[in-house]
């Protein structure tokens, strides 16, 4: 039924009241209506207003994306919905922690590649490293694929956070 030709990846920022159940509401909306979630991040961004910001990466046809935004917009605790993908240039970043286990030449090679990607070693033992890397999802994907043959055993990713370029707030 879906037509991948028409489908496009969108990064949507949602400002919500930080109240119990708000994340369940958003996730329930996506699962209940059959929308995709590629990634989703949420954290409080304004303590005095008790507001959280949700960044959701989704994909769909223009009609589906429009629906997703309208459906998000009508949730009572939602204050603002912004489609960063179509509303102008924006920055997307993701943070990942990669655990690479191994010794000898592979271990040296892992360090060398981490350096190229400006990944920092945040933990090390004689048999492992944990690297922290920040960048676009593509960059994180690339590092993961390079680390794979070098003993990558564990990955933890934050999912995408994003913000519009320029002086205007959400």
């Amino acid at each position: 039924m879906s037509n991948p030709v028409n489908e496009r990846r969108h990064t949507i920022a949602v400002l919500v009241d930080n109240e119990p159940g708000v994340l369940a509401r958003v996730i329930g909306l996506f699962s209940g209506r059959g929308y995709n979630i590629d990634s989703l991040t949420v954290a409080e961004v304004s303590a005095e207003k008790t507001q959280s910001r949700i960044t959701v990466v989704t994909r769909g046809t223009p009609m589906v994306i429009e629906q997703i935004k309208a459906q998000l917009g009508r949730l009572v605790p939602v204050h603002k919905v912004s489609d960063l993908t179509i509303e102008g240039p924006h920055v997307e970043r993701e943070l990942a922690l990669l655990k690479v286990a191994g010794t000898g030449e592979k271990r040296v090679e892992a360090l060398r590649i981490a350096d190229v990607f400006r990944a920092r070693a945040v933990d090390s033992t004689t048999a492992s490293f944990v690297f922290e890397v920040t960048g676009t999802s593509d960059k994180v994907d690339a590092l993961i694929s390079l680390m794979m043959p070098l003993g990558l055993v564990d990955v933890s990713r934050t999912g995408v956070v994003a913000i519009a370029r320029g002086p205007k707030p959400l």
Partner: protein
């Protein structure tokens, strides 16, 4: 007196009173005993004790629909709350404002699988417009006021407030509605005037226009229906209504084409198919209305007025979306039409009406009359003849063939008098809904047009009706089948009537008597008028058991997955043949 301390239960009652609530529908239980105790000690809010929580929900819906006010339900935790889920979903689908207060186990037991514990906010999250779990007695008043605001504003809907027992037992501070005013939910009601101007310009240039209006017009208040009538008069354009919209435009008006959709009239569906400009007002292009989407009104420019942005471009791509309340938009449209001195294209409109009149002449609601058996359509025609002209009649229905026939054969001149479960299609809706309407309108005539299968789904409410001496009339079109299921089995499943025949039905006359009501029965066409008269004259509740043709089918019918212009008027030509494999999977 301001900001005085009181128990949470007292705060609940005071908040209801300050919201103008005079009646609530409910059923007590352990978790809400403190609220019931507070209820006992006051006389401002009347409580109607239902026999099942689902009945309370539908009664509140009937109350809300017939008054335009918010319906209120009070039930206990666990099963009390889960029994409300169907009613909540029904109210969500049909945009009915209801506030449902549910009891909950005390906060320290939440999550412990306590007796009669259910995750009510979790379970009702997808079937409410919004819901709340109150954790502090000081928040009760603010949250209840906010719940009423959310339920009635924008596109109305059901709101659940879950009240743990310790929260209603503990003391807290009351806040008035003014003190609790919220900035957080304020939907746009007034539309962008530039859009309205564009819409009017498009409509003024139309050669084959149609106004397609729905429940949004009714939810926008009685003024919206009057404005719709004014706009229709001003333009001379034809009007069709959805099942939800019946009453938003007078059925007796010559510009009314009848209901559209799967069982709508030929003229309404053909006009939708052939129009060049469509004005959709507070309707949502439901699959029962559009038929096959890729063949839906192929040549038209579509204007969609809706208060809910998410309803626009959901099923059908429209050319001009207008976000706003139907009443505000209609008011602006009339102003623009008048101030710019638009005139409809008389010649084109005349030709369009001539085409429509040609379709009308085919009399799509005709049926084969009989002298021996009661045709369900005939029974409804006789019922309508007896109530025509009265403006104090409320009709509710259950779900199925009888519902469609009632929509076809009973005309509504005013909004808020037709109570039917459209979106969810809830069997068992009609009896409690009529009960709620009767509570709200004690002097009115409230009739539940029912089928013998649906009525049994909430028959226990006859006991509530007896307790409060509500003179509700139940008009059963009894064909001993789940008629609509049987009809689909005949058309699409080779006449294999799998489990759609009901053996061992109760004797509805005796059943009525058992509930202290009056039971009547008609088995021959000549009995119908007498039965209707007796029913309407009776000061008590009545169950009228009308034995109708068992195999009558509901026409016209647009088979699932077919287009508007593929409508079938009767058995001639066959319905089965027009359904392809894609249509067979549709509901």
């Amino acid at each position: 007196m301001a900001n005085q301390r009181m128990t949470g239960a007292e705060i609940v009652i005071k908040a209801l009173v300050d919201q103008g609530v005079d009646v609530i529908f409910g059923y007590p239980g352990g978790a809400v005993l403190p609220i019931y105790d507070a209820l006992f000690q006051q006389d401002k809010v009347r409580h109607i004790l239902v026999r099942h929580e689902q009945g309370a929900m539908h009664a509140a819906e009937g109350y809300a629909r017939s008054t335009g006010k918010v319906g209120v339900v009070l039930v206990t935790s666990g099963p009390g709350a889960t029994n409300c889920v169907t009613g909540l979903t029904d109210a969500l689908m049909d945009s009915i404002p209801v506030v449902c207060l549910t009891g909950q186990v005390p906060t320290h037991l939440i999550g412990n699988d306590a007796f009669q514990e259910a995750d009510t906010v979790g379970i009702t999250r997808p079937c409410t417009k919004h819901n709340y779990l109150v954790k502090d007695s000081n928040d009760i008043a603010r949250i209840i006021h906010e719940a009423f605001h959310v339920a009635r504003s924008g596109r109305p809907g059901p709101v659940v407030v879950d009240l743990p027992k310790n929260v209603v037992v503990n003391q807290g501070t009351y806040q008035t509605p003014a003190q609790s005013r919220t900035k957080k939910y304020n939907p746009q009601v007034k539309a962008d005037i530039a859009r309205v101007e564009q819409a009017v310009e498009l409509l003024a240039g139309a050669k084959r226009p149609i106004i397609y209006a729905g429940g949004g017009v009714i939810n926008a208040g009685p003024a919206a229906s009057q404005l719709l009538a004014s706009f229709a008069k001003l333009t001379g354009y034809p009007v069709t209504l959805t099942l939800m919209g019946l009453g938003a435009f007078p059925a007796s008006d010559p510009q009314f084409l009848g209901m559209l959709g799967m069982h709508g009239t030929l003229e309404a569906n053909y006009a939708m198919h052939g129009c060049d400009v469509m004005l959709c007002l507070g309707a949502r292009f439901d699959d029962r209305v559009t038929g096959r989407l890729d063949a839906f009104s192929p040549g038209s420019k579509k204007i969609h007025v809706d208060i809910d942005v998410s309803s626009i471009n959901k099923n059908v791509r429209v050319d001009l979306p207008v976000v706003g309340d139907a009443a505000y938009v209609l008011e602006d449209m009339i102003k623009v039409w008048k101030s710019r001195q638009y005139r409809a294209d008389e010649a084109a409109l005349k030709a369009w009406w001539a085409t429509i009149d040609g379709w009308r002449k085919r009399d799509s609601l005709r049926y084969q009359p009989s002298k021996d058996i009661i045709k369900p359509q005939y029974a409804l025609q006789r019922l309508f003849a007896a109530i025509k002209g009265r403006d104090d009649v409320f009709i509710s229905t259950e779900v199925g063939q009888h519902q469609m026939w009632a929509a076809q054969f009973i005309g509504f001149e005013k909004p808020n008098h037709w109570l039917t479960s459209g979106g969810l299609g809830t069997m068992g809706y009609g009896l409690p809904a009529a009960m709620g309407a009767q509570v709200a309108n004690p002097k009115a005539l409230c009739i539940d047009v029912a089928g013998e299968a649906s009525i049994l789904m909430n028959i226990q409410e006859m006991s509530t009706i007896a307790q409060y001496r509500l003179p509700v009339k139940v008009f059963i079109l009894n064909n001993q089948y789940m008629g609509m299921v049987r009809q689909w089995q005949e058309f699409f499943f080779g006449g294999r009537y799998s489990e759609s025949y009901m053996d061992s039905l109760p004797d509805f006359v005796k059943l009525a008597e058992a509930f202290g009501a009056v039971g009547l029965r008609a088995t021959k066409p000549e009995d119908v008028d007498g039965l209707v008269k007796e029913m309407l004259d009776c000061p008590k509740a009545v169950i009228a058991d009308v034995m109708v043709d068992k195999t009558e089918n509901c026409y016209p019918m647009i088979p699932a997955g077919a287009a508007h212009n593929e409508i079938k008027l009767g058995p001639e030509g066959g319905v089965t043949s027009s359904v392809n494999d894609e249509g067979m999977v549709l509901v």
